[in-house]
Amino acid sequence: MEAHFSPSVLIANIVLMAMLGVITIAIIRLRSLFAIVMLGGVYSLVSAAWFQAMDAVDVSFTEAAVGAGISTTLFLAAMLLTVRTAKPSKPIKKRWAPLAVVLATGAALVYASVDLPVFGSAEAPANAHVGKAYIEATPSDVGTPNIVTAVLASYRGFDTFGETVVVFAAGVAVILLIGFGERARAASDWRGKDEEQDENFSDDSHLILRVVSKFLIPLIAIFAFYVHFHGEYSPGGGFQAGVIFAVAVMLYALIFGLKAAMTAFPPVWARAGAAIGVAIYGMTGIICMINGGDFLDYDYIFGPPVEGAHHGHHNWPQITGIIGVEVGVVVAVACVMITAFYAFAGRVPEIRDEDW
């Protein structure tokens, strides 16, 4: 089917943009951190819908996976560690110099936007030079239907390697700052373990939640693998799949407790997996080097390419390389996310009454 840009989509774009503005102002003005976290989730919901209306489906997918699921949960987990009294808002002082700077910058940006190419214009720099070359070369070079995957994992494989290392470094930083979170495992004073002791919560029943979650968690994990292995044909890929898998583990921890989650998916696995994922990515590149090519030059992954060999619809060395690095990405991202969640959630068993 041919894509076309209808007026209704234009209206949808405008309304969604307006919603983003309203949400931003509300986030600035609200004092309740819970409300702000929730509106942050809504913000990413709206922007993902907007990205899809603009045909940027892979970006939309990432926004959907990261913004709505992981960041809400991690923000809440971070609230375990913050000061729990919101500061009273200070009276606004009139500062003219910053206001002038901000207005000048804004005016400059608005002025610059006049020179931007028309939306969807074929002459836009993004569509004219390197983007066009990728679109023309992908079918013969790589042969994956989703060009985004080809660009991400093959043409710009080195950049993606850098991104994976950045994610890994972020996980290491979280561990260095706040520990492994295994303190929670050792803590024996979990509330809920001994129901009779805690009268406030003794008549809570979560039977429905438990039964439904038992059904949902495996489906979410399966969907993560679908997103991963279908990444060459549809939006999605390693990053998104890793995040979705981490969400499945988080849901398990939310319903059945952190201890059960740490038994099902030990923190040691998560830490080792983060390193192994990056190593898989790097090894894929090194195998290419051993076979005589450049780093991440997938044409050499099975050995030097045969001159003049005709390949059909699929260029198998390229696709093997892409799958190899995507496996590395999915393992690394999922394990880093789970590590960060364990670190935050396991840092403090619970907030005491005097701190709440």
Partner: protein, 133 residues
């Protein structure tokens, strides 16, 4: 040679798309009506009633309408998956929210709503608790 009967393939095709669109539109209108209820009803439990009932019915109509338009394809299968997911998650989330609100001490508003600002027991305490966070 053209099949001119009422049930010719072309007519059936057009009817399928029309019925699908009509179902989807009905569902969207249900959703919008539910949202008006969420905005206008006086307390949390009535708002939840409005939101959860129209969520499931509206989503069902919309998704089945889109399935009719999509025909027998992977798209329809994905829509079916979304629908199954909704049928599990949406009532469960509503149940969890209502359960949590009730246990936290938010009392349902009972009586006649006269239009002016009403006092709901537990609301102020919950709000204070939220603001402290």
């Amino acid at each position: 040679m053209a099949d001119t009967s009422l049930f010719s393939p072309e007519n059936l095709e057009a009817a399928r798309v029309f019925v699908g669109s009509a179902l989807a539109l009905t569902g969207a209108v249900f959703s919008a009506a539910g949202s008006i209820g969420v905005l206008r009803f006086p307390d949390f439990y009535t708002r939840m009633h409005s939101a959860s009932v129209t969520d499931t019915l509206g989503a069902t109509l919309v998704l089945f309408g889109l399935m009719l338009i999509g025909g027998w394809s992977l798209v329809s299968f994905k829509l079916l998956c979304i629908w199954i997911f909704f049928m599990f998650t949406s009532p469960t989330a509503s149940n969890a929210a209502a359960n949590g609100a009730m246990k936290a001490g938010l009392e349902p508003f009972l009586g006649k709503w006269t239009g002016q600002k009403i006092k709901i027991e537990g609301q102020e305490a919950l709000r204070a608790q939220e603001d402290r966070e």
